[in-house]
């Protein structure tokens, strides 16, 4: 019962947050100096041309009317028309979003799947060789920028050895007919995997390192808890203690860190897409800023904010799932 109510309340709480994001984005976009119409029309356009364009994009209305219109349109999924591409912003985003989500999800999966076992093993073999190695690796990982890792990997694996592709990401769901060198679905999947490997590792390393560190220290912490000692005193095997009695409790701060890493993952995704020439949201936002394509800037920002808020909700829900005290509103 607690969990359902908790979920509903967390989702409802997200609404004002999103509205806030929309408002700030709108205000900021309109506060930036520079006139998009001028950029579109080039130097010295005629007054009628300018008027026509302004009317077409609704730019001649007062600010608050445009704000209300914008929010109203947003509710129907309409993010306006891209000035540069001259297609609906929503369409452009839907085109680009999958690549970014794929990149972020795969790097997260990579980070979580490697970091959690690494952290646990590190804690279990505290101060042994495995622990030292994993601690050094994670220290390097948290202190190295993801784009640098990306560039180095391109140099090593793509440029010098030609082992892995570094550009032209193949989406796993792409039609085999449209991909050169692919005949079956399996070919496409393999190619997608090869293409994803470098960007995934370069974006995921930071998360992996951060999660490993917290996992290790939390496990060490939990292993000194009274309930762990009690389990030992009742003859529970050390493996079970690690896997069951200590593990779940140690995940709470880990989940928090995973959630917090989302913002750096979004930032990292932008850089990674640039480095690996992936046509995703990151490059879209960079390009639209360069072109002062306001509707597109606003649209991409809002979508990123939305992804972030969804991530935070998922974090909170997993927290509540792991710790029963949260959904009962009695967390200590």
């Amino acid at each position: 019962m607690g969990l359902v109510r908790y979920t509903t309340s967390r989702v409802l709480q997200a609404i004002p947050v999103l509205l806030g994001v929309v408002t700030i984005t709108f205000v900021l976009a309109n506060a930036i100096p520079g006139d998009p119409v001028q950029i579109m029309l080039g130097p010295s356009p005629s007054q009628t041309q300018i008027e026509a364009i302004r009317a077409r994009y609704g730019l001649n209305e007062p600010l608050w009317v445009r704000y209300v219109n914008y929010v109203a349109a947003l509710l129907t999924g309409d993010l306006g028309q891209s000035i540069y591409y001259d297609v609906p912003v929503t369409q452009k985003i839907l085109e680009r979003l999958p690549a970014t989500l794929l990149l972020m999800l795969s790097s997260y999966t990579f980070a979580i799947l490697t970091a959690i076992p690494l952290g646990v093993i590190s804690a279990k073999r505290r101060n042994k060789l495995t622990d030292h190695v994993s601690r050094i690796v994670s220290l390097i990982g948290v202190s190295t920028p993801s784009f640098w890792i990306g560039l180095m990997m391109i140099l090593i694996f793509a440029f010098h050895t030609n082992l892995l592709p570094s550009t032209n990401l193949v989406m796993p769901w792409a039609d085999p007919a449209g991909i050169r060198g692919a005949e079956t679905r399996l070919d496409v999947l393999v190619m997608a995997g090869q293409h994803l490997l470098l960007p995934m590792v370069s974006l995921g390393t930071l998360q992996m390192a951060a999660i490993t560190r917290i996992e290790r220290s939390e496990m060490l912490d939990v292993l000194t808890e009274e309930y762990v000692k009690l389990a030992r005193a009742y003859g529970v095997a050390e493996q079970t203690i690690l896997r069951k009695h200590a593990f779940r409790n140690a995940q709470l701060p880990v989940i928090t860190i995973i959630g917090l890493q989302l913002s750096s993952a979004i930032g990292g995704a932008v850089l990674t897409e640039v480095v690996f020439e992936i046509n995703g949201m990151g490059r879209l936002i960079v390009d639209s800023i360069a072109r002062q394509d306001y509707p597109l800037i606003m649209g991409t920002t809002i979508v990123f904010a939305f992804v972030f808020v969804v991530g935070v909700i998922v974090t909170d829900l997993s927290y509540a799932y792991v710790d029963p005290r949260v959904s009962y509103g009695e967390a200590e």
């Binding site: 808890e225 009274e226 309930y227 000692k229 009690l230 389990a231 030992r232 005193a233 009742y234 003859g235 529970v236 095997a237 009695h245 779940r248 409790n249 792991v322 710790d323 029963p324 005290r325 009962y328 009695e330 200590e332």
Partner: protein
């Protein structure tokens, strides 16, 4: 006479810290008869908790059992090898060597922990895992230690929850620890211990964290269940009042050593050791006002650098010069209901070691201890775990 259920001989557990070796338990011996409730008493830091974790061989780093032997139901749980003079034998790494009869950690886990000897910890708030249901935790321990299947273990768990006085036991089974009060959690922990059907339960200050009313209820409950199941208990406490209420025999520890062992009546009415006397003086009693309480003078010295001679001489009102030279063992000083042992050289059992002839110690000659008035010692001297 029946054989003891548990027999601890000359147990030594040291902690090898950066500041030096802490002699947390330094050569204690005691027995527990089947079905008996034995008290293990002393101030915080006396080594009671270390002694109880040593019996289960669950001493954590940097602690190590460095000497002695523990026997349970005639089987050696562990024994540290000694040479002809009785000094523990060490291997190249300066680790004490266990004899071949000693059980391995694996055997301890499979056959002894929980199954034969269960433990109840001091803090009911910390002893239950917050992310699992109370029933699930109980069931897990029952499954492991009684070889029952899931559903049989669940039934046993619910029965036991009912037995320890938890209302609506079947519903509470699926509740989480945070939904229980401190007293109720302690009942759960008692249920855990009893449900594994061990022959011995070590209760490590299980009522310290509870208020007096709840403490009283828990003590009554334990007394009832003890009678019903015939389980032996080692009751670790610093509270002489609790001892008087439930124990059959009492062992008093001071600074890692045993100072007095006696039947509970002998201990209260024919106290031998000056330390026990001081402990008894410090219990609040209805017939005395707070002003008349007589707390033990001085702070318990650190077990890292215990006083020479009798370890209590820095605080003992009867201390004489000879006490700084002679470290008395705990020997029979009177017969009593059971042999009454005390470690104090003022008794004849120690022969003429010069106690009577030597001059009393005045405060200045006691080795550098602040003499202040203190209560039960719970506020200084660190934890038992140290």
């Amino acid at each position: 006479m029946t054989d003891p259920l548990l027999s601890v001989e000359n147990l030594q557990t040291y902690f090898f810290t950066e500041d030096g070796v802490v002699q947390a338990v330094d050569g204690i011996s005691f027995d527990v008869m089947p079905g008996e409730l034995v008290g293990l008493v002393g101030e915080s830091g006396a080594g009671k908790s270390v002694a109880s974790t040593s019996i289960l061989r669950l001493v954590e780093d940097p602690g190590r059992i460095v000497g002695g032997r523990v026997e349970f139901k005639g089987e050696t749980l562990f024994e540290i090898e000694t040479d002809d003079e009785g000094t523990p034998v060490e291997n190249e790494d300066a680790t004490p060597v266990e004899t071949d009869e000693s059980l391995s950690q694996q055997e301890m886990r499979r056959r002894i922990r929980g199954r034969e000897i269960a433990i109840i910890f001091q803090d009911p708030m910390e002893s239950l895992n917050p992310v699992y249901t109370v029933g699930g935790q109980l069931r897990e321990f029952i499954e492991i230690n009684r070889d029952l299947g899931k559903s049989a273990a669940k039934t046993a768990a619910i029965d036991m929850l009912r037995e320890v006085g938890i209302p609506e036991a079947p519903a509470r089974y699926s509740d989480y620890p945070h939904q229980f009060s401190g007293g109720m959690r302690q009942r759960v922990l008692i249920a855990m211990a009893l449900a594994c059907e061990p022959s011995l339960i070590i209760a490590d200050e299980p009522t310290t964290a509870l208020d007096v009313t709840v403490e009283g209820q828990i003590l009554d409950l334990v007394a009832d269940l003890q009678e019903k199941y015939g389980t032996a208990f080692v009751w670790v406490t610093h509270d002489m009042g609790v001892v008087a209420e439930i124990c059959d025999r009492v062992n008093v520890m001071y600074l890692g050593e045993m100072v007095e062992q006696a039947d509970v009546d002998d201990l209260f009415y024919d106290t031998k050791h000056p330390y026990t006397e001081a402990l008894l003086e410090s219990i609040p009693r209805p017939d005395r006002t707070v002003e008349e309480l007589n707390p033990i003078a001085g702070v318990m010295p650190e077990a890292i650098d215990p006083p020479r001679g009798c370890r209590f001489h820095t605080r003992c009102p009867d201390a004489r010069e000879a006490c700084t030279r002679i470290d008395p063992d705990c020997r029979v000083v009177e017969d009593g209901y059971s042999p009454h042992r005390a470690a104090c050289i003022k008794y004849d059992a120690f022969g003429n070691v010069g106690y009577d002839a030597s001059p009393p110690l005045d405060n200045e000659t006691r080795s550098g201890v602040d003499v202040t008035l203190t209560g039960d010692g719970g506020h200084q001297g660190g934890d038992d775990d140290e």
